[in-house]
Symmetry: C2
Subunit: 323 residues, 2 copies
């Protein structure tokens, strides 16, 4: 994919900076399966190749609340754990020193822990004697993510690694076709929603009839993406399983979703475990017109917010240069 | 789609024969959503346009067991009910007289009731003053099917109407791309499995984790079909929801599936509500080699069977001529 860039190793220096974008996890109908990267918010990793056979984190900076609460202990940090897994699998003699600059708010549902992990991997990969293709970084990204979520879900790390909409299974990433006109609004309201609480409401099982209805939505959604067919996307982008249970945990969500649909959204739902809320539109213009209305809905519920307008075919993580 | 043929109305006569093929409902990962038509087994309808404003069934023939037990009363018969719905919706002044020649065994899981319904509709459509496109026949086919199944599932009628693999939602049919090399074996063992019993085992709900795993399979399956990628199809064609609960109701199924996989099948599962068992292969040659092994597995369990080898891009229902 981007071996062209990853392979730009600089012999003159042993330090590389890389960024990874935020992402919309789940995309409503693809719980723990689908995600897409977004413009406007990202984490940066600065990785230095060191002779000592270890991974150490020297600093976590960033003006997002809570950045200073993240663990510096490598094995307890998603980015640290990813580099530990990389070293172990490749049997590297050298180690890595890592700094993180957090740009993605913690607990936003925009994939902050995944982005640190992917940015660190992309930077470290560029420092290898034989850099790996993006696909090969996936397993290490899953190793890192599992520190944060307790399980291996690729719906955030995969779109960060490949860009755009990606299907992430336990073993592979598949980048999907995305029409260029497709744009998203992602609104992050100033709320905290614990992932644990967001997961707890999913404990009760689902009747087959509802699963079948959702399967139809997923199939319509995937076919709509592949054909660039807005009618199919509109029919498909409608989550019946997770959103109904999580919506009550996010004050203003239903109103923000309604505002998006009023402004012509193809569909809207919760990004990752929330509270961020996303909506898809057939053009950037439609998205830009809807964003203030979605923010106004959260404001009416008492919450300030930030809004991002982005192509659904968002960016992928990239090396930015050397320090 | 086949308006070319449907529109071949013959003024000289008011009787049309049409056939509809059998089908594999569900295709494992697409319960009540996906199906594909098959060669080798079909129902035929002979429809006569009559002046009386009614639908009547004059005969149901066929050498399949139980054909003589099917109801001649139009509103209790899938084909009869479909024509009643057609007359009502279009406000037709004339009626239809219908004969059915059953070729698809009852209770086989090969879509017999759906085929009678679709064959009757395709024949009746050719007798209309202004024949409808195939897409417009879908709702009447669902009306007919509901007489048999008690609910509106299009996973059998849709592939019969359009041919090949079709996604059937409550309101629309979407024909999917099917690679020409893809072939299926469908084995019908001499067992009776009541649809009611096959449905009863599906009553208990499913944990989200299993639903998510199945969603990944469905997404891999659909992407594999669209890209003609056998690796993705092999990963995707694996049902975790319905097959594990129904397999114990079909003696020999697990052994027949194992025989198919031993012969290189991409995957295998239950057709419709069973007991017919299907497997997909990358060529006709592979399918032909596997068919006897699948039949031997049922024979070892004490059941004779018939096997059909067919392109997955199977035929669609067609007018055969006039009586």
């Amino acid at each position: 994919m981007s071996e062209d860039i990853d392979a730009q190793r600089i012999d003159a220096t042993r330090t590389v900076r890389a960024f990874a974008p935020g992402s919309v996890g789940n995309i409503g109908v693809g719980f723990d399966l689908l995600g897409h990267s977004i413009e406007g918010v990202r984490d940066v990793a600065i990785v230095r190749r060191i002779d000592e056979p270890q991974v150490r984190i020297t600093a976590i900076r960033g003006d997002v609340p809570g950045a200073d609460t993240l663990p510096l202990q490598a094995e307890r940090n998603t980015a640290g754990q990813a580099l530990i897994a990389l070293r172990r699998k490749l049997g590297l003699a050298h180690g890595f020193e890592l700094e993180l600059e957090k740009g993605i708010p913690l607990g936003s549902g925009l994939g902050g822990s995944a982005a640190s992990c992917v940015a660190a991997l992309v930077a470290a990969n560029a420092l290898l004697d034989a850099p790996l293709p993006r696909e090969a970084l996936y397993e290490f990204a899953l190793d890192g993510e599992s520190v944060s979520s307790g399980s291996r879900h690729g719906d955030n790390v995969a779109p960060m690694l490949l860009g755009g909409v990606v299907m992430a299974t336990a073993t592979r990433m598949i980048a999907l076709h995305v029409p260029a006109w497709l744009h998203a609004v992602v609104v992050h309201p100033d709320q905290m929603l614990e992932t644990r609480r967001a997961r707890a409401v999913l404990a009760d099982p689902y009747p087959l009839s509802l699963v079948v209805e959702q399967n139809a939505h997923l199939a319509l959604f995937l076919t709509g993406l592949q054909r660039g067919d807005a009618v199919l996307l509109r029919e498909g982008l409608h989550d019946l399983l997770v959103e109904p249970r999580r919506a009550p945990l996010i004050p203003g969500f239903l109103e923000a979703k309604a505002a998006a649909l009023d402004h012509g959204a193809l569909g809207a739902s919760i990004s990752g475990a929330g509270p961020s809320t996303f909506a898809w539109f057939t053009s950037r213009g439609h998205a830009e017109a809807a964003a203030p209305a979605m923010q106004a809905a959260f404001a009416a519920a008492g919450y300030g917010s930030r809004a991002y307008v982005t192509p659904v075919a968002g960016p992928k993580a990239k090396v930015m240069g050397r320090a």
